[in-house]
Symmetry: C2
Subunit: 230 residues, 2 copies
DNA sequence: ATTGGAATTTAACCTTGCCTAAACTAGAAT
DNA sequence: ATTCTAGTTTAGGCAAGGTTAAATTCCAAT
């Protein structure tokens, strides 16, 4: 019998889909062990669930080789992502949550809110296209902006850029980023960089300069905005 | 081994505690079948869960005779009730939910929100003592106002009262109540009533009169406010 | 071509919550 | 006092999701 992907997926299934979507988006593929790692469960548990998800038509599975979401699976994943990002936005804008504390809460709420509530929140926020971390919010029917940002580490000395996206996983890191006054939309010039994956120095609006370690800079998604420093 | 009632009870357990608390409050006792009925599950399922809850120290069970929450059980139940009522209040006041649509949503959210989020909502609402249906909101440490309201049907002709509480279960009923302009705080006089559980007629502020069926009137909790009509 | 190790899957089992069918009280009605 | 019955509990199952241990399979390195 064919499972009709009706309304309610279990919390667990939603988590799988979310994680698989992210793995596909980030690294192109979703291996069993990567899924297990991301969900903090044992690999055999993943094998079991993957089988069920494949039977439900949410993904395709080539044995020993990994997994790929079907249309239906992606659609579901994007629904969840939309919820997550709207919830994060709402908590930050309307309930004074900090940028860096919000992830956990959203993680639990995204499985419990109705479409109606999401729409209310979306409306209260003015139907934003991006969340406060700069990540695009999927539309209700599962469209998402395809992004072509580059990591800050791809910018050459002398070039200008705008910070676009900072991620939302690591709250330590977010706290630090916030403390530097970095947030999506901020413009900067790269004024110096050391070779061999060393730190780079950027100048922000107002002339303040900050030194950013390579690792961190590499996680900051930016848009090139000026060919050259003026 | 003794289960340490730590942080996270399952959704299912929370629902049991909530229902048992309500049954005890309403009818004094909580029978297996009443619990089953309220949760829309089969009686044997209740027996099973009751055993586990008793082992966890959340309630006491006398075989064939029903169940009684322990201190710990009541405490948990009140935590959930607090969540529920704050969420309902928040959705109505801040997100334009209707009085009568809010119950379902709160029912799901109450199991997913953190204490921190509840506190934010509570703060945004100005730390209300009652929810929009007039029900008292338990404090964070599990105190709840003991109410001594009387059903509208207990008021004699000629006496005055204030509506205090309208319940939150039946959304049809709530819609109707709202359409009559009845809400907690509204003052009225009883101007007539028919015998044998017939309808009563009340006069609202402004002089408008409404006829209320016995059943409905009996579900409206009121406070006596004047000995006699003036 | 073979082999060794890492990753994956299978097998066997556990817990939570639910179910139905059958066995058992408790208490009302005779 | 006995019986009948409604309500409760026990027994036995099932599905979802997880676990560990053992068997596979792929691939990369000899």
């Amino acid at each position: 019998m064919k499972a009709s992907v009706g309304k309610g997926l279990s919390r667990s299934i939603e988590d799988y889909l979310k994680v698989i979507y992210k793995l596909e988006a980030d690294s192109g593929s979703a291996q069993t062990s990567a899924i297990a790692e991301a969900l903090a469960i044992a690999p055999p548990s993943v094998s079991g669930m993957v089988k069920r998800l494949a039977e439900a038509g949410l993904l395709e599975h080539s044995r020993y080789r990994g997994v790929r979401l079907t249309e239906a699976g992606q659609h579901q994943a994007l629904r969840i992502l939309r919820r997550h990002r709207i919830i994060e936005s709402y908590l930050i804008e309307q309930l004074e949550y900090d940028w860096h504390n919000v992830h956990q809460e959203a993680e639990r709420l995204e499985h419990a809110v109705s479409d109606a509530l999401i729409d209310r929140m979306d409306q209260a926020l003015g139907r934003p296209s991006h969340d406060p971390h700069g990540a695009p919010i999927p539309t209700p029917d599962g469209e998402i902006e395809t992004i072509h940002y580059v990591p800050m580490t791809d910018l050459d000395v002398g070039s200008a850029g705008q910070l676009r996206m900072v991620g939302d996983k690591d709250s330590e890191r977010l706290r630090f980023i916030a403390s530097l006054g970095l947030r999506p939309g901020v413009a900067f010039d790269v004024v110096a960089r050391q070779p061999f994956h060393g730190p780079l120095t950027i100048r922000l609006e107002g002339g303040r300069e900050e030194v950013i370690g390579y690792e961190l800079a590499n996680s900051l998604q930016c848009e090139r905005s000026g060919g050259d420093a003026k």
